[in-house]
Symmetry: C2
Subunit: 207 residues, 2 copies
């Protein structure tokens, strides 16, 4: 990793009590008991209802050279890949870059339109990061998109440089919580920016 120059960034929207998704996630309700219809629309209202106001944060998300996400973020299929599933984002996903999906079940890469290819990694988080760094040519940023469980694993392993939180004005009370089980972290607040439906906070992870 001596040649590493790109950063490892986590970017995630959470409720004021730190949840990235509620309980009881399903194909119909990917965010589970999220205080609305399970679509995550209340958590992500800042992104969809006020895009102009939050353009910088959305564009920042799209500058990564490679992405990582957990199996549960990729889709509702559990266990073997026993039915077709190519993510929640349609034929032309917004990533436009390689996306490394953590899974226990091997699968061939899936090329989508617009530059997105889903790669399925069965060798764990360190391997996914190494592959994503290689895909990012060593000097592009790798962004871990979630869910919280995946980010918590990377935080616990000390592999994260920067944490971009988008804190939405609601609490969920239960679900998948960011920082759950993660040892205490020293953070440096790099930026904090208010918008009408969210507070954006970026931390550098010091230790």
């Amino acid at each position: 990793m001596t040649e590493r120059t790109g950063r490892v960034i986590c970017d995630i929207t959470i409720s004021a009590d730190g949840y990235a998704a509620g309980l009881h996630q399903s194909e119909e309700r990917p965010f589970g008991d999220d205080g609305g219809d399970g679509s995550g629309d209340r958590l992500h209202a800042w992104m969809f209802d006020t895009p102009d106001e939050n353009r910088a944060e959305v564009e920042q998300l799209n500058t990564a050279a490679a992405f990582i996400m957990g199996r549960n973020m990729f889709g509702p299929v559990r266990g073997a890949w026993d039915r077709p599933w190519n993510g929640w984002w349609g034929d032309d996903p917004p990533f436009h870059a390689p996306v490394f999906v953590l899974t226990h079940h091997a699968r061939e890469p899936q090329q989508m339109n617009g530059g997105t290819t889903y790669h399925f990694v069965t060798e764990g988080i360190a391997s996914a990061l190494a592959q994503a760094r290689a895909a990012a040519d060593g000097d592009g940023d790798v962004t871990i998109l979630g869910g919280a469980t995946t980010i918590n694993q990377y935080l616990s392993a000390g592999l994260v440089d920067e944490l971009r939180l988008h804190i939405a004005p609601l609490t969920l009370g239960a679900g998948t919580r960011l920082f759950e089980g993660v040892p205490p972290l020293r953070l440096e607040q790099v930026t904090s920016r208010p918008a009408s439906l969210v507070t954006h906070v970026t931390y550098r992870v010091l230790s």
Copy 2:
């Protein structure tokens, strides 16, 4: 409560993972395992190291006509009042108003210098709020200072109008967590303001 005009405000500093204090609180370490010496100095660095930058938030704290706090915030004495204890804040506490302390152990009011009197309430949170409102003359704000356990009780009971959070750049991983056990809340983000060592966020509690 029809004549109520003052608001009920909770004002508390939390870590990025939502803790107001770490585990193992004691007289020597009132904030327990807080990532430092237990004094809460890292959580509250915004208040003590950068007072000019955060003058508005500190002054806002001092505009309440009455305060409420839990027994654990008031001091380390547990059980009966078997030794002298008049709070962490010396002879001239910064409250300059009546402070209602929730406890299971009756005690006579304790008058301090500068307008602060500690009143000890054994009849629970609703009684403490009624007494604080009466002391606030019905139209002054009542501010609940913490700890998180006390605020969680008021939130769960639907008695809070406004929540002022000061989010510090560290995580504690364990301890007393704001929103723990509180049913989901709909919030409206009233203000959000960045400072160098903290992000201030004020929410109106909608339901």
